[in-house]
Protein backbone atom coordinates (compact mmCIF):
# COMPACT_ATOMS: atom_id res chain seq x y z
CA UNK A 1 0.00 0.00 0.00
CA UNK A 2 1.24 3.47 -0.78
CA UNK A 3 1.43 6.11 1.94
CA UNK A 4 0.62 9.15 -0.23
CA UNK A 5 0.82 11.69 2.63
CA UNK A 6 4.15 10.23 3.79
CA UNK A 7 5.70 10.35 0.32
CA UNK A 8 4.50 13.90 -0.38
CA UNK A 9 5.79 15.08 3.00
CA UNK A 10 9.16 13.37 2.46
CA UNK A 11 9.59 15.16 -0.89
CA UNK A 12 8.48 18.52 0.45
CA UNK A 13 10.65 18.24 3.57
CA UNK A 14 13.75 18.31 1.35
CA UNK A 15 12.18 20.99 -0.87
CA UNK A 16 12.22 18.72 -3.94
CA UNK A 17 10.72 20.39 -7.01
CA UNK A 18 8.18 18.00 -8.43
CA UNK A 19 4.76 17.80 -10.09
CA UNK A 20 2.20 15.12 -9.22
CA UNK A 21 1.01 13.36 -12.39
CA UNK A 22 -0.61 10.00 -13.18
CA UNK A 23 -3.26 8.28 -11.12
CA UNK A 24 -2.83 10.36 -7.97
CA UNK A 25 -3.32 13.52 -10.04
CA UNK A 26 -6.41 11.92 -11.58
CA UNK A 27 -7.72 11.24 -8.06
CA UNK A 28 -7.05 14.85 -7.08
CA UNK A 29 -9.20 15.92 -10.03
CA UNK A 30 -12.06 13.62 -9.05
CA UNK A 31 -11.29 10.23 -10.59
CA UNK A 32 -12.87 7.21 -8.93
CA UNK A 33 -10.23 4.80 -10.22
CA UNK A 34 -7.77 3.00 -7.97
CA UNK A 35 -4.08 3.76 -8.32
CA UNK A 36 -1.34 2.00 -6.41
CA UNK A 37 1.62 4.30 -6.87
CA UNK A 38 2.61 7.95 -6.76
CA UNK A 39 3.94 9.32 -10.06
CA UNK A 40 5.86 12.59 -10.04
CA UNK A 41 7.83 14.52 -12.64
CA UNK A 42 10.93 15.97 -10.98
CA UNK A 43 13.24 18.79 -11.97
CA UNK A 44 16.60 17.56 -13.31
CA UNK A 45 18.70 20.46 -12.00
CA UNK A 46 21.78 19.38 -10.00
CA UNK A 47 20.40 20.98 -6.83
CA UNK A 48 17.09 19.18 -7.20
CA UNK A 49 18.77 15.86 -7.91
CA UNK A 50 20.65 16.25 -4.61
CA UNK A 51 17.40 17.09 -2.80
CA UNK A 52 15.66 14.12 -4.36
CA UNK A 53 18.48 11.80 -3.35
CA UNK A 54 18.31 13.08 0.23
CA UNK A 55 14.52 12.85 0.40
CA UNK A 56 14.26 9.25 -0.79
CA UNK A 57 17.44 7.76 0.73
CA UNK A 58 15.86 7.19 4.19
CA UNK A 59 12.98 5.27 2.59
CA UNK A 60 15.05 2.19 1.60
CA UNK A 61 14.51 2.68 -2.15
CA UNK A 62 14.89 -0.27 -4.52
CA UNK A 63 14.16 -0.68 -8.21
CA UNK A 64 10.70 -2.18 -8.47
CA UNK A 65 10.70 -5.55 -10.20
CA UNK A 66 14.50 -5.85 -10.30
CA UNK A 67 16.19 -8.91 -8.80
CA UNK A 68 17.23 -8.33 -5.19
CA UNK A 69 20.75 -9.35 -6.12
CA UNK A 70 21.04 -6.42 -8.54
CA UNK A 71 23.25 -3.78 -6.92
CA UNK A 72 21.48 -0.46 -6.54
CA UNK A 73 22.76 2.67 -4.87
CA UNK A 74 20.38 5.59 -4.51
CA UNK A 75 22.30 8.83 -4.76
CA UNK A 76 22.63 11.94 -6.91
CA UNK A 77 24.94 10.12 -9.32
CA UNK A 78 22.38 7.40 -9.95
CA UNK A 79 19.69 10.01 -10.62
CA UNK A 80 22.03 11.90 -12.98
CA UNK A 81 22.84 8.71 -14.88
CA UNK A 82 19.20 7.65 -15.20
CA UNK A 83 15.97 9.43 -16.00
CA UNK A 84 12.82 7.57 -14.96
CA UNK A 85 12.85 5.36 -11.86
CA UNK A 86 10.15 2.96 -10.67
CA UNK A 87 10.94 2.52 -7.00
CA UNK A 88 9.60 0.53 -4.13
CA UNK A 89 10.13 2.37 -0.85
CA UNK A 90 9.22 1.89 2.79
CA UNK A 91 6.26 4.21 2.08
CA UNK A 92 5.13 2.39 -1.05
CA UNK A 93 5.52 2.55 -4.81
CA UNK A 94 6.97 5.76 -6.20
CA UNK A 95 7.63 6.54 -9.87
CA UNK A 96 10.09 9.38 -10.40
CA UNK A 97 9.90 10.68 -13.95
CA UNK A 98 12.55 12.92 -15.45
CA UNK A 99 10.51 13.07 -18.61
CA UNK A 100 6.96 12.14 -19.52
CA UNK A 101 5.45 11.37 -22.93
CA UNK A 102 3.57 14.34 -24.32
CA UNK A 103 4.77 16.70 -21.60
CA UNK A 104 8.51 16.64 -21.73
CA UNK A 105 10.37 17.63 -18.59
CA UNK A 106 9.53 19.47 -15.37
CA UNK A 107 10.19 22.90 -16.86
CA UNK A 108 7.90 22.19 -19.83
CA UNK A 109 4.95 21.49 -17.51
CA UNK A 110 5.28 24.74 -15.56
CA UNK A 111 2.21 26.37 -17.09
CA UNK A 112 0.11 23.24 -16.81
CA UNK A 113 0.00 22.89 -13.04
CA UNK A 114 -2.03 24.04 -10.08
CA UNK A 115 -1.05 24.10 -6.44
CA UNK A 116 -2.95 21.71 -4.21
CA UNK A 117 -2.81 21.83 -0.41
CA UNK A 118 -2.95 18.28 0.94
CA UNK A 119 -1.87 16.64 4.19
CA UNK A 120 -0.34 19.88 5.41
CA UNK A 121 1.86 20.51 2.37
CA UNK A 122 1.54 22.50 -0.85
CA UNK A 123 2.29 20.49 -3.98
CA UNK A 124 2.19 21.18 -7.69
CA UNK A 125 -0.27 18.93 -9.51
CA UNK A 126 -0.68 18.74 -13.26
CA UNK A 127 -3.98 20.32 -14.27
CA UNK A 128 -6.83 18.34 -15.77
CA UNK A 129 -6.35 19.49 -19.37
CA UNK A 130 -2.64 18.66 -19.30
CA UNK A 131 -3.28 15.31 -17.64
CA UNK A 132 -5.64 14.37 -20.48
CA UNK A 133 -3.08 15.61 -23.02
CA UNK A 134 -0.30 13.50 -21.44
CA UNK A 135 -2.42 10.36 -21.37
CA UNK A 136 -3.51 10.90 -24.98
CA UNK A 137 0.07 11.47 -26.14
CA UNK A 138 1.24 8.25 -24.49
CA UNK A 139 -1.28 6.40 -26.70
CA UNK A 140 -1.36 3.39 -24.38
CA UNK A 141 -4.33 1.05 -24.53
CA UNK A 142 -4.40 0.73 -20.74
CA UNK A 143 -5.00 4.49 -20.41
CA UNK A 144 -8.09 4.65 -22.62
CA UNK A 145 -10.64 4.15 -19.83
CA UNK A 146 -8.80 6.68 -17.69
CA UNK A 147 -8.88 9.25 -20.51
CA UNK A 148 -12.60 8.63 -20.95
CA UNK A 149 -13.19 9.22 -17.25
CA UNK A 150 -11.00 12.36 -17.18
CA UNK A 151 -12.92 13.81 -20.12
CA UNK A 152 -16.18 12.98 -18.35
CA UNK A 153 -14.84 14.81 -15.25
CA UNK A 154 -14.10 17.87 -17.39
CA UNK A 155 -17.63 17.81 -18.78
CA UNK A 156 -19.16 17.37 -15.31
CA UNK A 157 -17.09 20.28 -14.00
CA UNK A 158 -18.39 22.50 -16.78
CA UNK A 159 -21.93 21.33 -16.17
CA UNK A 160 -21.98 21.60 -12.37
CA UNK A 161 -19.40 24.31 -11.67
CA UNK A 162 -17.78 21.98 -9.13
CA UNK A 163 -13.98 21.62 -9.12
Amino acid sequence: MTDFPGLLRALRKEKVRFIVVGGAAATAHGSARLTLDLDVVYSRTPENRRRLAAAIAPLAPALRGAPESLPFVWDERTIRSGLNFSLSTSLGALDLLGEVAGGGRYQNLGNDTETIHVFGVDCLCVNLDALIRLKRAAGRRKDLETIAELEAIREEREKTGLR
Partner: protein, 66 residues
Amino acid sequence: MTPVPDPPPLPLAEVDRLVEELKKDVDRTLIRENLKLTVEERLIQLTRFQEFAEELRRAGRATFGR
Protein backbone atom coordinates in the same frame (compact mmCIF):
# COMPACT_ATOMS: atom_id res chain seq x y z
CA MET B 1 15.57 -12.32 -19.68
CA THR B 2 14.68 -10.17 -22.68
CA PRO B 3 12.35 -7.29 -21.76
CA VAL B 4 9.04 -7.27 -23.62
CA PRO B 5 8.89 -4.08 -25.73
CA ASP B 6 5.92 -1.74 -25.24
CA PRO B 7 3.36 -1.97 -28.03
CA PRO B 8 3.46 0.99 -30.44
CA PRO B 9 1.31 3.97 -29.36
CA LEU B 10 -2.18 4.10 -30.79
CA PRO B 11 -2.79 6.70 -33.51
CA LEU B 12 -4.53 9.78 -32.10
CA ALA B 13 -7.62 9.30 -34.28
CA GLU B 14 -8.00 5.80 -32.88
CA VAL B 15 -7.59 7.11 -29.32
CA ASP B 16 -10.35 9.68 -30.00
CA ARG B 17 -12.72 7.06 -31.38
CA LEU B 18 -12.17 4.59 -28.52
CA VAL B 19 -12.40 7.27 -25.83
CA GLU B 20 -15.75 8.48 -27.20
CA GLU B 21 -17.02 4.90 -27.05
CA LEU B 22 -15.74 4.33 -23.51
CA LYS B 23 -17.11 7.64 -22.25
CA LYS B 24 -20.62 6.22 -22.56
CA ASP B 25 -19.78 3.67 -19.84
CA VAL B 26 -18.31 6.11 -17.30
CA ASP B 27 -20.29 6.22 -14.04
CA ARG B 28 -20.89 9.95 -13.74
CA THR B 29 -22.69 9.58 -10.41
CA LEU B 30 -19.34 8.63 -8.83
CA ILE B 31 -17.67 11.61 -10.47
CA ARG B 32 -20.32 14.01 -9.19
CA GLU B 33 -19.92 12.64 -5.65
CA ASN B 34 -16.13 13.00 -5.88
CA LEU B 35 -16.37 16.57 -7.15
CA LYS B 36 -18.22 17.49 -3.93
CA LEU B 37 -15.14 16.43 -1.92
CA THR B 38 -11.98 18.42 -1.28
CA VAL B 39 -8.76 17.25 -2.96
CA GLU B 40 -7.51 15.93 0.38
CA GLU B 41 -10.74 14.01 0.97
CA ARG B 42 -10.37 12.43 -2.49
CA LEU B 43 -6.84 11.26 -1.67
CA ILE B 44 -7.92 9.94 1.73
CA GLN B 45 -10.69 8.03 -0.03
CA LEU B 46 -8.09 6.56 -2.40
CA THR B 47 -5.99 5.41 0.56
CA ARG B 48 -9.03 3.74 2.16
CA PHE B 49 -9.82 2.07 -1.15
CA GLN B 50 -6.24 0.77 -1.28
CA GLU B 51 -6.59 -0.62 2.25
CA PHE B 52 -9.84 -2.31 1.24
CA ALA B 53 -8.25 -3.79 -1.91
CA GLU B 54 -5.30 -5.05 0.13
CA GLU B 55 -7.64 -6.69 2.62
CA LEU B 56 -9.54 -8.38 -0.23
CA ARG B 57 -6.24 -9.67 -1.65
CA ARG B 58 -5.27 -11.03 1.77
CA ALA B 59 -8.65 -12.72 2.13
CA GLY B 60 -8.35 -14.16 -1.38
CA ARG B 61 -4.93 -15.60 -0.63
CA ALA B 62 -6.21 -17.11 2.64
CA THR B 63 -9.23 -18.62 0.89
CA PHE B 64 -7.80 -19.75 -2.42
CA GLY B 65 -4.21 -20.20 -1.36
CA ARG B 66 -2.70 -18.01 -4.06
